[in-house]
């Protein structure tokens, strides 16, 4: 019976292997994984079939991750974990250069200190940020984020930027309403439905056009936009997954309960792009394996589509940080 040589993470990190050592493998006694050297980087597998890592991405308010995934189809979902204590105005979470689905935090806040989580999609079919009705009478016209206003953040169920990890899912899908096709936008926070509304002018959207993805759209950017050089997210992101379908409440609960340190394909999901962040094939800027405190090189896509993400402008690179929703 063959066995793997046992080494600690520190001992593995201290190894200096080159291409000729391809195929060498060890049992990592620190985290229980099996790691194999592919000639340039370590690839690893956990013995229980669940994979995870200790790294997330830190965006410093001036960073942007560029994916190679464009919105497809007439439905979408984005699932991710976020941790932020200061969502500055115009924080962009996801953008596809105004041609697909954007998610961002526009300027302004209402008298209660709420700020807004702004979904827009294809050709401006978004909520009108200048619509005065958005702050009307406490009605949730749009999804609301708490600001860094301490008075509102304290104990608020709407608080997203409280310095702790939150799981967020947004879905967009078309449905027939009285013979007219329109879109429904749903947002979930920590597994629970947070906003559910039809994207119509009655609900503050600029028009009633249904969402329509398609080929040829600009690839998604994360944490910033190619459309703006100054609108950036400030905080951590982890386990970012794009889907071409609208996840159901059961799906969202499943991911929230099992997907943080797990593997979405193992849970039966088929994401279009899946950035686990800091996992085995991820690299830092010099091409070596991902490690805390270093700028990204390639953030690997763990879907079957292999749509890796990166940033070729060094000033815009987010960095890996040792902080995840489950550590």
């Amino acid at each position: 019976m063959s066995t793997f040589e046992v080494k600690t993470q520190a001992e593995i990190d201290a190894l200096s292997l080159n291409a000729s050592a391809k195929g060498r493998a060890y049992f990592n006694d620190t985290d229980g994984s099996i790691v194999a050297w592919d000639g340039t980087a370590w690839r690893g597998y956990l013995s229980d079939g669940v994979s995870g890592n200790a790294l997330s991405l830190e965006f410093d308010g001036g960073d942007r991750l560029d994916t190679t995934y464009s919105g497809l189809g007439n439905a979408l979902s984005i699932s991710f974990w976020m941790k932020s204590s200061d969502l500055t105005e115009y924080s962009i979470f996801f953008d596809s250069n105004n041609e697909s689905f954007n998610l961002w935090r526009p300027p302004g806040q209402d008298t209660a200190g709420n700020v807004f989580w702004m979904p827009t999609y294809r050709t401006g079919s978004g909520i009108n940020q200048n619509d005065p009705n958005r702050t009307q009478g406490g009605t949730v016209l749009y999804t609301r984020f708490s600001s860094h206003d301490a008075a509102y953040t304290a104990g608020s169920s709407n608080s997203f930027c409280d310095g702790t990890w939150h799981h967020v899912v947004v879905t967009l899908a078309n449905e027939d309403v009285d013979g007219t096709t329109t879109s429904r936008y749903i947002m979930y926070k920590d597994g629970e439905e947070f906003v559910n509304q039809l994207c119509t002018t009655d609900n503050g959207w600029t028009n009633n056009n249904p969402y329509s993805g398609g080929s040829g759209l600009s690839p998604y950017t994360i944490g910033g936009s190619t459309n703006s050089s100054t609108l950036y997210y400030n905080g951590y992101l982890d386990q970012i997954a794009f889907f071409q379908t609208a996840l159901t409440p059961t799906d969202v609960t499943n991911i929230y309960n099992n997907g943080n340190g797990g593997n979405l394909p193992n849970l039966g999901f088929e994401p279009e792009a899946y950035y686990k962040v800091g996992h085995f094939s991820d690299t830092i800027a010099d091409g070596t394996p991902a490690s805390a405190g270093n700028d990204i090189g390639t953030v690997a896509d763990y879907s079957e589509n292999v749509r890796h993400a990166s940033q070729t402008t060094v000033i815009l690179k987010p960095n890996y940080i040792e902080d995840t929703p489950w550590h």
Binding site: Q129, S225, S229, I315
Partner: protein, 86 residues
């Protein structure tokens, strides 16, 4: 967090960016193409409207804060932009 220098001319911005490209050997074989992308203060109501925004890194693998005069640096100003996504 990053710091920033506001240059009045594109030539000044390019000179600093070229210097940082040289410092870090960019572009390199790992797919890193450039130090920064040019940006301008786009809010016409801002006192620095039209100036070129040059970012300075304070941490990570490409730290540049020691390459410039601290007295020239400013903090990020969300009023620089008048950009809207919709």
């Amino acid at each position: 967090m990053k710091k920033y220098i506001l240059y009045s001319t594109q030539e000044e911005w390019n000179a600093s960016n070229d210097a940082m490209n040289t410092l870090f050997g960019l572009p390199d074989s790992n797919g890193n193409e450039r130090y920064a992308e040019m940006a301008q203060v786009s809010n016409p109501d801002h006192a620095d409207y039209g100036k070129y925004i040059f970012p300075i890194t304070t941490r990570g693998n490409y730290v540049t804060i020691n390459e410039f005069n601290v007295s020239d640096m400013v903090e990020f100003d969300p009023e620089w932009t008048s950009d809207e996504l919709i």
